[in-house]
């Protein structure tokens, strides 16, 4: 994986030192909150409902065991012994004290990590497919490009004060596991006639005006990646609206300006700046690629794995839901669920982090990934090691077999932490997961993505949930709106609202009616919730969700 060079190291250390002095001046009263706020946000420090929150970038979701152990150490020493993994492949600490934050940042720098550009109107942490470098269906590992983009965008002088935040995601496969169509720029690595390049999407985003990204070009040669992205961001920097925060994202710029006009302007700008990008970037890319070289996979028998599957039904159930095909013979990608039924989605204790670090080191070529679905991935595990990995996960309460099922819910922090929230989201996720565990139905229900946000900003991706739940404040009471048919993959779709929302007490029964209703409606067990919705449309689902009053009372 990528290791900081001297430049990265010096840059990060300087930033920590600057921030240490800024914190000092804030505490002695020489900086007001208005002066300090932009400075702390640039370093990933938010002020939430009950405490500060530090958001740490996990670039393209990749960590090694040493970094994971350091995250655990930070959680123990300066927080409450846990961390929250987010949909943007970050980790958030919910309880740091202001005085300690510079020390936390120094501890992160010790393992090549930081919180820079996790906030503010800059180019944010570049995210990537969490199966990158491992997936069987991948054209190429997208992370070297994500790293190249990270180097180009970090502290880019022209792009520190964009009209609004700017998010880039990269995937190396046709199957979109990085939700690239809901990003300001989405990149898909493609091979056409033996040449590597990118499909470039622009103007996707969620929030209060959700939009699916549009194709700007179907094939961008790899040498043009940086100048082309620079051209996009610079056209946006000029055209993007600064008069209205709600219209400032590039999705609105594209929508208001028109895709063809944006394309023309990007090409014009690209032609002007292309000559200034010499071949140096391509040499850097070669260096970066060398650091992402695949581990030395081993050749071994997998008989033990098959035998363990036959002998242990719990292990078999886990392998059925939590494994994904690997590109190397005999290997598997393991998704470790951080969604035990009833637990807070995405929260891992420091002990769990250390177990994951140990497993990565012993069985996983020292690699870990954070997925946007708030789970942790061991990307390279040989199948013969899976029984041992499973046993260790079970001991650490990490062996829940629910990846992709009802209880594998994305939930933003909501009003339990977030100052912008209009309602809570975590307890709703906990209730749904607990209920379906009681019903013992989730394997019967099959693939179903529920996503919950605690306000219209949509950090919980509710627009692209098969079932989306949005928490609102209706006249001083929590109220939950449901959307159906959303999809965050290559067939990206924004979900449609069902109708009136539900109170905090009524939302769980409503979700239960909906999911049980789907079991009635589906053609057979192979038709997923999303497929059934696409075939039948909203009406039959609505009928399940809003039964006539008498029926509800009888039930």
């Amino acid at each position: 994986m990528y290791h900081y060079n001297d430049f990265d190291e010096a840059f990060v250390r300087t930033r920590v030192a600057q921030f240490r002095s800024q914190v000092g001046r804030r505490i002695d009263g020489s900086l007001t909150e208005d002066e300090f706020k932009p400075l702390r946000l640039m370093n990933g420090l938010y002020l939430q409902l009950h405490a500060y929150m530090l958001r740490v970038a996990v670039p393209y979701g990749t960590l090694n065991s040493k970094q994971m152990r350091q995250l655990a150490m930070i959680a123990d020493r300066w927080d409450k012994g846990y961390g929250h993994f987010t949909t943007r492949q970050n980790i958030q600490y919910n309880w740091p004290e202001l005085r300690d934050v510079p020390d936390m940042l120094d501890a992160l720098a010790d393992v090549g990590m930081h919180a820079i550009q996790t906030s503010g109107n800059t180019i944010r942490n570049v995210t990537a497919d969490h199966f990158a470098g491992a997936a069987a269906d991948e054209v190429e590992d997208p992370r070297p490009y994500a790293e190249l983009l990270r180097q180009w965008s970090t502290d880019h002088p022209e792009f520190q004060f964009l009209p609004r935040k700017f998010k880039i995601a990269v995937t190396g496969a046709e199957a979109d596991r990085a939700v690239i169509r809901a990003h300001d720029i989405g990149l898909q690595v493609r091979r056409v006639d033996g040449k590597i390049g990118f499909r470039v999407l622009v103007g996707g985003g969620l929030g209060r005006t959700p939009m699916i990204g549009k194709v700007l070009t179907d094939f961008l040669p790899v040498e043009d990646l940086l100048p082309y992205c620079e051209a996009i961001v610079s056209v946006y920097n000029v055209l993007g609206r600064r008069d209205n925060k709600y219209k400032a994202r590039i999705k609105i710029t594209v929508h208001e300006t028109g895709l063809d006009e944006i394309r023309a302007r990007v090409e014009e700008r690209f032609a002007a700046i292309r000559p200034a990008f010499d071949e140096a970037a391509m040499e850097i890319l070669d260096d970066i690629k060398a650091q992402f070289a695949l581990p030395a996979f081993r050749n071994a028998e997998t008989d033990g794995f098959e035998a363990a599957r036959l002998a242990n039904p719990a292990f078999r159930a886990w392998t059925d839901t939590n494994l994904t095909p690997h590109r190397a013979e005999g290997y598997a990608i393991v998704s470790v669920s951080i969604k035990k039924h009833g637990a807070t989605p995405g929260d891992a204790s420091s002990d769990q982090m250390r177990v994951l670090a140990d497993l990565a080191q012993t069985y996983g070529h020292d690699e870990l990934r954070i997925s946007h679905e708030q789970n942790v991935i061991l990307p390279h595990v040989h199948k013969s090691d899976l029984p041992a990995v499973y046993a260790a996960l079970r001991d650490a309460d990490l062996a829940t077999a629910n990846i992709g099922l009802v209880s594998d819910i994305i939930a933003c922090p909501g009003m339990d932490y977030c100052a912008l929230a209009t309602a809570r989201s975590i307890p709703i996720a906990q209730q749904i997961a607990t209920r379906f565990e009681e019903l013992k139905l989730e394997h019967e229900v099959g693939p179903l993505k529920i996503k919950i946000s605690g306000c219209i900003n949509a950090c919980g991706h509710h627009h692209v949930g098969h079932i989306g739940i949005l928490g609102l404040d209706r006249a001083g009471v929590e109220n939950y709106q449901i959307t159906l048919g959303g999809d965050g993959t290559e067939d990206a779709t924004i979900g449609t609202r069902t109708g009136p929302g539900f109170s905090a007490d009524d939302i769980l029964p409503a979700i239960e009616r909906l999911v049980l209703g789907y079991l009635d409606l589906r053609e057979d067990a192979s038709e997923t919730f999303l497929q059934a919705y696409r075939r039948l449309g909203m009406e039959p689902f609505k009928a399940k969700l809003y039964p006539p009053k008498e029926e509800q009372d009888a039930a």
């Binding site: 909150e33 939430q48 009950h50 405490a51 309880w95 339990d416 929230a421 975590i426 404040d473 001083g476």
Partner: protein, 99 residues
């Protein structure tokens, strides 16, 4: 007749710990909302907010929050403010630990 003024309290986040605090009549920051000064007059409330906001080295983000009088002192009227007096609902963290 002008609309009746909803009583308020001045609240903010403590600068160092970041948790919720409320302004008392004798100019302390308390972690127990019931000890806060209940402001029933709009002009006085605005003045108290200005005074509070000036205390930059103690707090951040002061604002006026709706409140109601109870036998035990001022209490929240909105669920957001109620959560701020307790802490998150998924763990026994925050102020509820000491309740």
């Amino acid at each position: 007749m002008p609309k009746a003024f909803t009583p308020k309290v001045v609240t903010a986040n403590a600068l160092l710990e970041g948790d919720a605090v409320w302004l008392t009549e004798d100019d302390r920051w308390t972690r127990d909302m019931a000890e806060a000064e209940l402001l029933t007059d709009e002009a006085h409330a605005e003045l108290r907010l200005l005074e509070a906001s000036a205390r930059a080295s103690e707090i951040a983000g002061a604002y006026l929050a709706d409140a109601q009088a109870t036998d035990d002192g001022p209490a929240p009227t909105h669920f957001r403010e109620a959560f701020r007096t307790r802490g998150p609902s998924n763990y026994p963290h925050g102020k509820q630990v000491d309740l």
